[in-house]
Symmetry: none
Subunit: 210 residues, 4 copies
C-alpha cells in the first residue's frame, strides 16, 4: 500500500517533469529550454531532475521514444487486409486520418516536437527522423497492399506517393495545431473529422475531384 503509494508519487514526479519538458521543448525548442525552467515549473529543486533523468538529452530521447510508440500504434490499426471499392478506400483512409488527427489534437506538444522541426541536437533529430520514416513506411505498405489488391494502378510510384501523403499529414497537423497557418485560413477551427475528410478527398481525387 504505502509502497504503492510512494511508487505512484514517484512516478507522478517523473511524469510532471516529463510533461513540463515536453511542453517546453515543443514551444521553445530544445536549446531554449533550460533545466532550471523545467524544475521551476514543477516546483522541485534542480538536483531532483537528475534523480529521474540522466541528462537533458536523455529526457528528450525518452519523450521521443514514448511518443514514437504511441504514434505507431495509432497508425498500425489502419493496415489494409482485403479488397474493396474506391469508396471503401477513401473511407478507410479517412478513418485512419481521423484517428491520427484526434491523437494529434490531444498530444499537440508531442506533435509539435515531431513535426515542428524543433531545433534539437543530432541524436534527437535522428530519433525523430526515424519515427517519421516509420510512419511513412506504414503508409507505403498500405499503398502497396492496395496495388496488390488491384485497387490502385500498378504504375504509380508507391514510395513517392507515400511521401506525398505523409507530407499532407505533416502539413495539416502543423497548420492546424501550431500556428503555421495563414492568418484567416480557418483551419484552426476545424475538427479532426473535417480535416480527415477533406484531406482524404484530396489524397484520392486531387484538386479537381469533388
Amino acid at each position: 500500500m504505502s509502497a504503492d503509494k510512494e511508487a505512484q508519487i514517484s512516478n507522478e514526479r517523473r511524469d510532471q517533469i516529463l510533461q513540463s519538458a515536453l511542453r517546453r521543448f515543443a514551444k521553445d525548442g530544445y536549446h531554449a529550454t533550460k533545466i532550471s525552467d523545467i524544475v521551476a515549473e514543477v516546483g522541485v529543486a534542480q538536483g531532483t531532475f537528475y534523480w529521474y533523468f540522466k541528462s537533458k538529452e536523455a529526457i528528450a530521447l525518452e519523450i521521443v521514444k514514448e511518443g514514437r510508440e504511441q504514434l505507431l500504434e495509432v497508425i498500425a490499426q489502419g493496415y489494409r487486409r482485403k479488397a474493396g471499392t474506391v469508396q471503401d478506400m477513401v473511407h478507410a483512409s479517412e478513418a485512419l486520418l481521423d484517428r491520427l488527427f484526434q491523437f494529434a489534437e490531444s498530444n499537440r506538444y508531442l506533435m509539435e516536437l515531431f513535426f515542428g522541426g524543433g531545433g534539437t541536437i543530432e541524436p534527437i533529430r535522428k530519433a525523430i527522423g526515424e519515427t517519421r520514416a516509420a510512419m511513412e513506411n506504414a503508409f507505403l505498405q498500405n499503398i502497396r497492399r492496395a496495388i496488390e489488391l488491384g485497387m490502385l494502378p500498378a504504375t504509380i510510384d508507391a514510395e513517392f506517393r507515400a511521401a506525398l501523403i505523409m507530407s499532407l499529414i505533416e502539413g495539416v497537423i502543423s497548420r492546424w495545431l501550431f500556428g503555421f497557418a495563414l492568418p484567416d485560413s480557418g483551419i484552426a477551427s476545424k475538427t479532426a473529422q473535417e480535416l480527415a475528410a477533406e484531406t482524404a478527398r484530396f489524397e484520392f481525387f486531387g484538386l479537381l475531384g469533388v
Copy 2:
C-alpha cells in the same frame, strides 16, 4: 578604382561569411553553429565577423530576408491571368513547380533552413514562418483566380487546398534534398522536372488519377 576594389573585396568577405553561416545553420542548426566555426571556415578572425554583422541573430535574419526575396520572386512568375483547359492548369502548375524545385536544387542550404525546421530562436522562426506564409498565399491567390475563371469548383476550401499544396512542396523538397526520405525511396535521384510532373499530377488528380 582602389576604393571599388576594396569595396568588392569587402563584399566578398561578407558573402563568404554569409555563405558559411548559411551552410552551417542549415546543416547543424542555429544553436550548434558557433561564430568560431564560421570564421574558422572563412579563415578570418573572430572579431572580423562583427565588422560585417551586428550579431549572430542579425546574420541569420539577413540570410532569411535575402532568401525570402528570391523565393517569392520565383513564385511570383506563376500567377494565373487567363482561363484555359484543365491541361493548361496542370501544365502551368507543373511549370511553377519545376522552377521552384530547380531553385531549391541550387539553393539547398537555404531550403534546408526554410523547410528543415532548423531549430532557431523566435525572431528567426517568425521570419521563416512569414516567408512560408507568403509562399502559401501565392498559391492561394492562384487557386482563387482559377475559381474565378471557372477552372476549379467554387465549393472547395481554397485556403485549405493551398495549405495542402504547400505541404506537398515542403515535403517533396525535404525528402529530395536533405535526407528526410525513406532508405530506398529513390526520390533523391529524381530530377526537378520529374518531381514537378509527379507532384502536379497528384495535386490535380490525387492517388487515383493517372
Copy 3:
C-alpha cells in the same frame, strides 16, 4: 541475545561500509570515491551511510585512526633493549621489516591509503602525516638507542638516517603492493621475508655491502 545479535549485525554493517570505503579510497582516491559507490557496493541505501558515519570526512578519519593504531603496534614490538653485535642489529632490523611487510601485505588498501599519497583533504592528510611521523619516530628511537649502546657511531645524523630508513620502507611497500614499480622489476613476486632481508642489508651496508 536479540540485542546482542542486532548489535553484532550493526557492527557488521558498519564494518562492511568501512571496508568498502577503505578499498575505494585507496584505489580511486578520496575525491573520486562517492558515497553512492560505497553504499551500492555494500548494498544499502544512501541514507544508511549517515546512520553509521557523520560524514565522508569522518569515515576517512576513522579509517586512518584505526590504521594508525595497528601500524604503530607492529612497530612498537621492535624497540631495541640491549646491546649486541652488528649481526644482531641486522637481524633485529630484518625481523622488524618482516613483520611490517607482512602486515602491509594483509592490509594493502590501508597501506595504499597511507603511502600512496591518496589525494585527500587537509584533515586527513594531516592525520596520515602524523602517522607516518610516528612511524619514523619509532625508527629514530631505535637508532638513538643503538648509538647509546655503542652499536652505531655517535657521529651520524640520527634523524636523517631515520628519514632514510622510513623512505626505504615507504618506497618498498609502494612498489611491492601497488604498481609503483618498473615493468619487469620482479619486486611484486618477492615475499615479505625476501624484501625484509634485502632492505635490511641495504640499510646497513649500502650498495657496496654484500
Copy 4:
C-alpha cells in the same frame, strides 16, 4: 616587434596561469583547486583560462609533461661512462644528487606534485607514475653500467637497488621541501649539497659506513 611583444605578453599570461595552477595543485591538490581560484590569483576572467587551456585536466597534464622533461634532463647528465674507484662512484652519485636536489629546491611545487602523492585523477596519476618510472629507470641503467664495469658486485638485484635509491630520493625531497619531516629533524635547513653528501654516503655504505 609589436607582434613579438604581443606574443610575449600572451605567453606571460599563459605562464602566469600555469604557475598559479602548479602552485595550487601542489599545495591543495587537484580537486581542491578551482579554476576560479587560479584566475582570481592571476587576475583574469574565468573565460580567459579556457583561451589558453582546454580544460582543468589539460593544464595539469601540461604541467606534468613539462616537468617530466626538465626532470629527466637533470638526471640524463649523470650517465656513467667509464670505470673508476669507489670514491669516483660516490662522488659521481653525490654530484647527481646535488644537481637533483638543487633542481628540486628551485622547483618545489613541481616536486610536490610529483612526489607528494597529490591526489589527482587517473590520467594525471598515470603521467606522474610514468615520470617516476623513467627516473628510476635512469638509476637502474647507472647501476647496470657500474656492474658491467666491475664497480659493483654482479650478485646484487639491480632493479631492487634502483628502487631503493629512488625511494631515498623521494623521501629526502619530500621531507626537505614539504613538511613531511619530524618536528625537530632539522632536515629543512640543510643545503642541497649536504643532503646529497649524506644521501650518497648512505646509498653506498649504509647505516654502518662512515
